[in-house]
Structures are given as C-alpha cells and as structure tokens.
C-alpha cells in the first residue's frame, strides 16, 4: 500500500485516491497547433525514478494533489495542491 500524506486529511492509503498521471503535462490552448495537442494527449516522459504526478483524493477531500513519487522505489517526497489559486487562497486565510 502506498501511503500519501494529504495536506487536508493526513496520511491515507492510496486506494482512497485516483491516479491521474504525469503532472508535468501542460494542455495547450484550444486553438493551438495539432502538434502541441498530439504531444499533450499522447506523449509521455515515462520516467524511471523521480516522477511528478497527479492524484485525486476521490474518497477523501476530493482535492487534486501533485505528488512527487519515485517510480522505481515508490518513495513519496513532497505533496502539494495541484490547483494554484486554491493553494494561494488557503495561504491567505481560507476561502471567504
């Protein structure tokens, strides 16, 4: 079992989460060139070693988290919120 330290819920089993893949993929603008869309949709670095990835805490707080995890050892480094504006709002004392 992987144990993921959720910033809101504490450390939880990975079965509470849904894996959403490589966090470094940036989706282009809707009118971007087909080539950019091809790369974002289909191509992956697929790293062996440290890997930034998105986990959705589906059966918890439902936050999207970016988890730094080693794909060879499964060791988990940092965890942070994927959605930057939400992270900033929380830093400033919550969503009013």
């Amino acid at each position: 079992m992987l144990r993921i330290p959720c910033p809101f819920c504490g450390t939880r089993d990975h079965t509470e989460f849904s894996y959403e893949g490589d966090a470094t993929v940036v989706y282009p603008a809707l009118d971007a060139l087909e080539e950019e869309w091809f790369e974002a949709v289909f191509l992956r670095e697929n790293l062996r070693g440290p890997h930034s990835e998105v986990w959705h805490h589906l059966y918890g707080c439902r936050s999207f988290l970016i988890v730094e995890r080693d794909t060879l050892t499964h060791e988990i480094g940092g965890v942070r919120l994927a959605h930057q504006p939400t992270a900033e709002a929380l830093m400033q004392g919550g969503t009013k």
Partner: protein, 423 residues
Amino acid sequence: MQRYNALSVLWGGLTGQKHWQQVWGRPEPKAHYDVIIVGGGGHGLATAYYLAKEHGIRNIAVLEKGWLGGGNAGRNTTIVRSNYMIEGNTEFYEHSLKLWENLSHELNYNVMFSQRAHVNLVFSPSQRDAMARRYNLMRLNGIDGDFWDPKELRRRIPHLNYDHGRFPILGAYVQPRAGTARHDAVNWGFARAATALGVDIIQGCEVTGFIHKAGAVVGVETNRGGVAGEILADKIGLAVAGHTSVLAHKAGLGKLPIETHKLQAYVSEPIKPIVDQVIVFGGIGHFYISQSDKGGMVFGGDLDKYNSYAQKGNLPVYENVMAACMQILPCLGRVKLLRQWAGVMDMSMDGSPFITKTDIPGLYLNAGWCYGGFKATPGSGHTFAHTIAKDEPHWANARLTLSRYREGRQIDETGHGPVAKLH
C-alpha cells in the same frame, strides 16, 4: 544443432542421459554485428531467430541485461489468443496464432502449446450483445469464434458459480484455437534455434547508451566497459517492453505514447485437473485463470494503475483479484497461493503495440505490448525481423506504426481513449 526426437529420448534413457549437449553458450561480444537486438525476452529471441532463418542474416547479437526470459517472458500468465476485432490487431494476432500452431515443429522444441480454448464469460444481455459483435467480426475476419450456451458451459466447466445472484452466467464466447503455452520453453526454444543459426546471445550485457554518427544510430555502449563495451551494428532493434522509454530517451527518440505500469500474476499450489480452458471474467470485474500442466492455478487481473518500474505488486489489487476469483470459482477458496509476482509493461495510449522503423536511421522499435505480449511472441519476432531486414513492414504489422497517434488512427480495441492505465 542436435535434433530432439522420440528415438533420441529412448536412446538417452538407455544410455544414462549422457547425450545432451549445451544448447547456447556464453559468447563474448564481437566488435561489429549486422543486427543487434536489445532485449533477450521472447520477442527479442524470436526476432533474432527469424532474421537468421528467413532473411539469411547470421551476424546477429541479442543483448540481455539480466538473464534469458528473466523479464516479462517469464512473468506472464501464458495465454495465447487472437480474439481481436479491429484492423491492425486482427491480422497481426491471427498471424501470430498461426505461427504458434506450428512452433514446436518449427523450433524442434516442445513449447507445450495447448489449444484448450479461451472462454469469455458473459453476465448480462448487453454484455452478450457486445461480445456477439466482437466474435461475429472475428468470424468475418477468418478467426474462429463460438458461443457456448449455459448448458454446454455447465457440461464443459462444471465448477463455475452459475447461480450467483449478482453475476449469473448467461453463456460464454469462446475461441477454441486459443490456449496456453509453456513460457520458459518458448524462450529456450527460440534461444536454442537462434544459437544453432549462429546468433550470439549475450546475457548480463546492459545497453547504457547509443553511438550516433551523422544522425544515425551505429552502435551501442554497454556495461562491459572499455573498448569491449562498445558494439557497432548496421541495424539495432529494441525489444525491451517495460523499459522502452528508458532506452528511447538514451537513443534520442524522445517521448513515446507509453506509460510503464506493473501487472501482478499469481499461481496456486498444484491441484488435480479442474479447469481445462482459459476462463475470463471480464466486463464487471477483470480476472483470467487457467491451470498449468503442473496443476497450479495461474491467474491475474488488473494493473496496479500507477506508473511504476518496480517489479513488485501492491496488496489492494491482490485482494481485488482474489475477490474476483471467489465470485466465479468459489471452489478454489481453500487452495493456497504458492507465488505472486509483478512485471512492468509498456502501456500504450491505445492499448495496441508498435513494430516499426523509427525516425532515426538504423533504429527499429518493437514496443507497447501492454499486458498481452506473450501471445504475440512468434508474430512479433516474425514481423519485426521482416521490418528490420527489408526496411518495410510485413503485411501483418503494417498498421502497428508509431505515426498512427498523430494521424488519428489509434487501434483502440476497448475504446478507452488515450489513458494508458485503462487499456
């Protein structure tokens, strides 16, 4: 090569089994080969064999970082089938199945290919309709397919949980020519036959880099060190499913439509014959099971569903697979598990493989097998050899290109879209 036959077995029995010869050695790498195949699993060994046998190329090396068949070739659940319905897959897997049917004779080695039928259970009318479409399409493509109604199913597989309240079994779609083979024998058979044709199989030789010249790949760097660590070749083929992206980055191919995921498999203690087919519980759950000739129940289920290069499985999937087993074969509840293991696989973005030339001259790619590579072993080797030797695809792998993603021609058998973990 010393031929194996009934007479030699008899003679060996009478003369103290002293007639056996070593079937492959431990050759030192040469400075140059016509073709280097990276990866000494089933696909790599088969490619080397067919290159030597059908294309007359004899100066070939197969480089394997571990030992023969120590990767996924020795980690699978040994299922062979061709029940595909989309062009690209249909012709390729049927081509492969036809090669399986004569493989033991071809290699003069008993790969224990047993056409015991592949049985896809159906549990609802809508699933039956979807399966009918698949199996009708298969028949139109000249692939065998059949329907066993509950009465026939009960006669052939009496131990299934027929009267399950949630998952009542309504019948099964069947490919009678499908079955299982002995995975180690397949590797050893190809290794022996390739060695007899002059192929160098070099184990414990990891490719650590590629030698480029004027935009082409002209050799590999290996962990052998020094001058001996550099091996030149006219053509280099990669057959390293699971680690394709790692080598592709080193070769300069860049990103590929692949994520590496791990899949677990399980085998029980040997028991008396109980299941004489490959049984699949699909759709609602995901579970497949057969019984090996030693009596062990060999089975598996889903991926662990997160990127991983670790050859070890996680417990939640373990529990899920056991639960699926108990739904359809509760009679196995008291049987003890003997072993559990995991392999890492190339999960491609449409669930189908690629066997193709690359944009880099001299470099050829065989990858993206998801978790169905074992059945493809002879077909993959046969068509990859053709692609390398002729610089153009065989008819059976013509659609298994890398460019199909860019062209919008994905071969998405299950319709899951570009999410690697779902295929």
